[in-house]
């Protein structure tokens, strides 16, 4: 049921009567509407027609109509009618040249799909004087003619992104589709307003048109026309051309809508067009076409200028110590007679020479490193018309053979007891193989003796020279050996009396050695360095600086080779024929660090001063130039810092009071402060000072006492009057009470029940009322105030606590820590019987309680009278 999405070619042949035109020429007898293409894709008529004679294949595009002399052109009216109602939707007059035999081409695009309703087209001849008759209508019937059809158009058609598409619905008779179909154009056809489709999609883009019965929706393919670019045609086998290009923008059209390609009229697939090379063919035209458009790409070149060789195969090698021969073969027969050049990728870098020849199949690489591993690849290109390098061959690995080692780097080391010859181990680059050992020869410059040792193994890098009784300098020659042989000899002259007389300069924070040119230098200079305080045998390092003329030859500055916190001695020697000549020597630290700890921290008294002294930090622990010492005095108990002092000497004097102290002494360099040494010390008071102070104090106290005694004696009357005045006798007034304590009952829990009875004078009724009225304390006593106390049998005391329990005073409920004894009570009774009234309010305690402080006037045991 799917529709054919291709072109429909409908041919119509119509004859009509010839007319004469004004200029007397015969008008084309009658245009014949010969060929009408109905393109569903873009709703267009492609109308071809011809004049009366013959069938041709020439098709003129519309914009060619206006060419040539306007006066000779013939006009045609073209009319397009729509629907069964024959509504004119387009009218156009075109002018063409009156060729005897010609085909003319005209195109019109309908805004709606041709299936929506019937479209008719006709044309007629037209000039200034005469208008011919219309050709018969050519009508393409819409689907609305078929009474059974209900459908939406367009559907399943490709459209360009950004198209505005008008949909039509062919509904059943007397049925009106949904409101989206706003215009009726025929009896059964309704159309929508244009709908924009702005986004491409991998899937068909669907639209819901809302009519569930006849015209629910449609799906379209929204995409782009082809956008292929950068066509390049090359030959790889010298017998065919293959073309490559880039696809460009995605068209979003697939399957039968995807882009199809033709190269020079022959079909091919994307990026895979291969054609045989012909001498005439130097232009390649690629046409990329899909339903939405066509893209044409052209590449013009001579195939012999577009040679892109394939990779060499079967690459092999023959390696020597310093060169290798690479060989390969070609799989393409025509390569063997082709002028080519080749390059080699050696260890990832392009070899600095190219090789050329006809059908080149080998190359020799020289100046290689002996005893080394290499990788090599080969690629070739056209020598005559180089276009680009071909593909690389597979990577081939090979190793060069061993060669004799390079000369070793020799130096000498003087120590107090020995003189040694040292040499550096050869690197892989310089050893040219596996070092089997070394040979050393020692000769006297006077030719008196010659000593040779060939048995040094490959780990020995130092050899002691003994002068013995022989005088004269020594010439020492050292050679390394591997399987290929001995290295060139390295010779050094060792003076029997080394010249080490040179002043040593201190340096700070890094080494930069400079020296002046030494005129007798014949082989450059040597900078030597070793740890100043750890100069053991064979620990010297050196660097040879070759002879040259610029200032850089007399400066040496290295960083990163010195250990931090280690003192180095750096020396500069001139290399002469008579042996090394010491020019300059320095000591110092490349990088200073915190120093070690001072040693032997001690203290001594000098009068009231305390002198701290210590020994300096050991040399190998100084780790920098000692700038001074820091002394901190702390109180031992509180750990408080009392004093901080810095000094450059190894001692310090401190004035301190007696007490217990802790002393911390640390050295410091530019790298920081080192660990401190600690010393504790008590500073005691001296005994003669203590005795003198005691005597002075005692004497002073005795004198003051005597003076006070004498003064008191002489002023004794005044003192007595002041401290003990005479006390007047008390005076009694009125009758006073009788009071007694009666203990009448022994209770079972060990207490005695006692009663204290008081009788009040009738002369004080107000007081009695006041006390017996609202006072709850007195509520039990009625006429008498009565306190009942219970005392243990074995003690004649009335427990105050018990009293508190019995007579509870809510507002003064205080504890009573002491007991009141019966004897005391008797005393109180006697005292009260004495007519003494110490206070004017006439209140007195019957149960008086005493303690160490004195009266407690508000005891719970009190009874107010």
């Amino acid at each position: 049921m799917k529709e054919d999405r291709g072109w429909f070619f409908l041919r119509l042949r119509t004859l009509y009567t010839a007319d004469l035109i004004a200029n007397g020429e015969t008008c084309p007898e009658a245009p014949e509407l010969y060929h009408v293409n109905l393109a569903f894709v873009c709703f267009a008529f492609f109308s071809d027609w011809r004049n009366e004679t013959g069938w041709g294949r020439s098709v003129y595009k519309r914009d060619e109509f206006a060419e040539n002399d306007e006066s000779k052109k013939i006009g045609y009216d073209i009319e397009v009618l729509r629907t069964e109602q024959m509504t004119r939707v387009h009218f156009e007059t075109i002018h063409v040249m009156p060729y005897k035999t010609a085909y003319y081409h005209w195109k019109w695009t309908s805004p709606i799909a041709l299936e929506c309703t019937s479209h008719s087209v006709r044309l007629r001849h037209h000039n200034e004087h005469h208008i011919g008759e219309w050709t018969p209508l050519y009508t393409y019937n819409g689907q609305d003619v078929n009474a059974a059809t209900t459908a939406v158009y367009p559907r399943d058609k490709p459209f360009m992104v950004g198209s505005n598409i008008t949909f039509c619905c062919i509904a059943k008779r007397d049925k009106v589709p949904s409101s989206k179909f706003v215009t009726q154009i025929s009896n059964r056809t309704y159309i929508t307003n244009p709908v924009p489709f702005d986004k491409p999609s991998d899937y068909p883009s669907s639209i819901n048109l809302g009519d569930p019965v006849d015209c629910l929706g449609s799906a379209l393919f929204i995409g782009y026309p082809p956008d292929d670019q950068n066509l390049t045609c090359v030959t790889r086998d010298l017998s065919s051309v293959e073309c490559h290009w880039e696809q460009g923008r995605n068209t979003y059209l697939i399957l039968d809508r995807k882009t199809v390609y033709t190269l020079n009229g022959r079909g091919c697939t994307f990026n895979n067009c291969v054609h045989a090379v012909t001498k005439q063919e130097t232009k390649w035209t690629l046409i990329a076409k899909n339903p939405l458009g066509v893209k044409t790409l052209i590449d013009t070149a001579d195939p012999t200028h577009r040679v892109w060789l394939k990779a060499p195969s079967k690459i092999s090698h023959v390696a020597f110590a310093r060169k290798v021969t690479l060989s390969w073969s070609w799989n393409e027969e025509k390569y063997t007679s082709f002028q080519m050049k080749c390059q080699v990728n050696l260890n990832g870098s392009i070899y600095n020479e190219t090789f050329s020849g006809v059908g080149l199949s080998s190359a020799v690489l020289v100046n290689l490193q002996p005893f080394a591993k290499y990788t090599a690849q080969v690629a070739c290109g056209s020598l005559e018309h180089f276009y680009k390098w071909g593909d690389w061959s597979e990577i081939m690995e090979f190793s060069t053979k061993e060669d004799i080692p390079e000369a070793v780097d020799v130096w000498i080391q003087y120590s107090e007891t020995n003189t040694s010859v040292l040499w550096k181990p050869l690197t892989q680059e310089h050893s040219h193989g596996i070092i089997a050992g070394y040979e050393i020869t020692i000769e006297n410059t006077k030719g008196l003796s010659r000593k040779k040792n060939t048995g040094l193994n490959n780990t020995q890098l130092c050899y002691n020279i003994t002068f013995g009784n022989e005088k004269g300098d020594r010439i020492v020659t050292v050679s390394a050996k591997n399987s290929a042989g001995l290295s060139p000899p390295s010779t050094i002259v060792i003076p029997s009396y080394p010249d080490n007389e040179v002043s040593i300069s201190q340096i700070y924070n890094g080494f930069e050695m400079t020296w002046e040119e030494y005129p007798n230098s014949t082989c450059g200079y040597v900078v030597e360095w070793f740890p100043t305080y750890n100069n053991t045998q064979c620990t010297v390092e050196w660097e040879k600086i070759p002879e040259c003329d610029n200032d850089a030859c007399y400066t040496w500055n290295q960083s990163g080779i010195f250990e931090a916190g280690v003192s180095y001695t750096v020396s500069v020697y001139a290399c002469t024929d008579d042996g090394p000549k010491l020019l300059n020597r320095s000591e110092g630290y490349a990088i200073e660090q915190k120093p070690g700890r001072v040693e032997d921290l001690t203290s001594t008294y000098t009068g009231r001063n305390l002198e701290l002294s210590w020994k300096e930090v050991p040399l190998n622990q100084q780790k920098g130039i000692i700038l001074g010492y820091k002394v901190i005095t702390l109180d031992t108990d509180s750990k408080m810092i009392i004093n901080t002092t810095t000094t450059k000497e190894h001692k310090v004097n401190l004035k301190l009071d007696p007490g217990s102290y802790t002393f911390r002494v640390s050295a410091f360099t530019s790298g920081g402060e080192g660990e401190y040494a600690t010393l504790g010390r008590n500073i005691a008071v001296r005994s003669d000072q203590v005795i003198a102070a005691t005597l002075v104090g005692c004497c002073s106290a005795a004198i003051v006492f005597i003076i006070i005694t004498v003064l008191c004696y002489r002023k004794r009357k005044w003192v007595k009057k002041l401290l003990y005045p005479d006390i007047p006798k008390p005076k009694l007034a009125g009758k006073w009470i009788t009071k007694g304590i009666y203990c009448t009952q022994i209770l079972t829990d060990g207490y005695i029940k006692c009663e204290i009875q008081e009788a009040h004078s009738v002369e004080h009724p107000a007081m009695s009322e006041n006390l017996h009225g609202p006072d709850p304390i007195s509520s039990n006593s009625k006429h008498f105030n009565q306190n009942i106390c219970e005392s243990p049998v074995d003690a004649s005391y009335c427990s105050v606590e018990k009293l508190i329990t019995i007579i509870e005073n809510p507002s003064y409920n205080m504890t009573m820590p002491e007991l009141v004894g019966a004897a005391q009570m008797s005393d109180l009774t006697l005292e009260m019987q004495d007519d003494y009234l110490p206070a004017p309010n006439f209140v007195q305690n019957n149960c008086v309680v005493k303690n160490a402080v004195g009266y407690k006037p508000q005891s719970a045991c009190h009874t107010n009278v």
Binding site: M1, K2, D156, D202, S206, P212, L216, G217, I254
Partner: protein, 191 residues
Amino acid sequence: MEGAADSDTPVAQRSATDRAAALARLLHRDCTRLLELYKERENFLSHHVPDGERLVALGLCPEALTTAEQVGHVRSALRRCKELLECLITREVEEMGEELEGEYESLRKTVKDRLGHLVHSTAALLENGEGGCPPSPPLQCTEGQDEVDDSFAAKLWTYRVLLELIHWTDSASQTLHLFQSETQGQQQQLL
């Protein structure tokens, strides 16, 4: 030995039913997600209510009385769903090619594979094969698709197929759960 074999059988049966029920639940979730993905792609479906009769109808099957028979019915429906899904895939590949490999296409394949497993595993649960449904002839993809004559109609048909998948996988999930419960109860009674 015979007793041991008897005691093993219920366990194997139960675990097979468990697996089938779990697979049905998983498949139901997959189908629901597949429809979500399809509706994300085809926005116009968000307000569309499909009409017409069901794509998968069990008209030839006798009325299912027992749960086992219901399982047989569901299996027949799932088999038809699988055939519909295969037709759907064929149609979409014809229309869009095989180059598209998004989440929808991946899940579409997963659903097809799992549907095949579920059809196979439900068949293994049934003693009498179809459970009363006569074997139906293989579906021809062109069958009943006279109206599916363009891409838009194909999308509507795809939508209906996906709805059928959701419906029948849900039905399978429930029926198998019931079948599992009943089988378990019977085994406990026997023990």
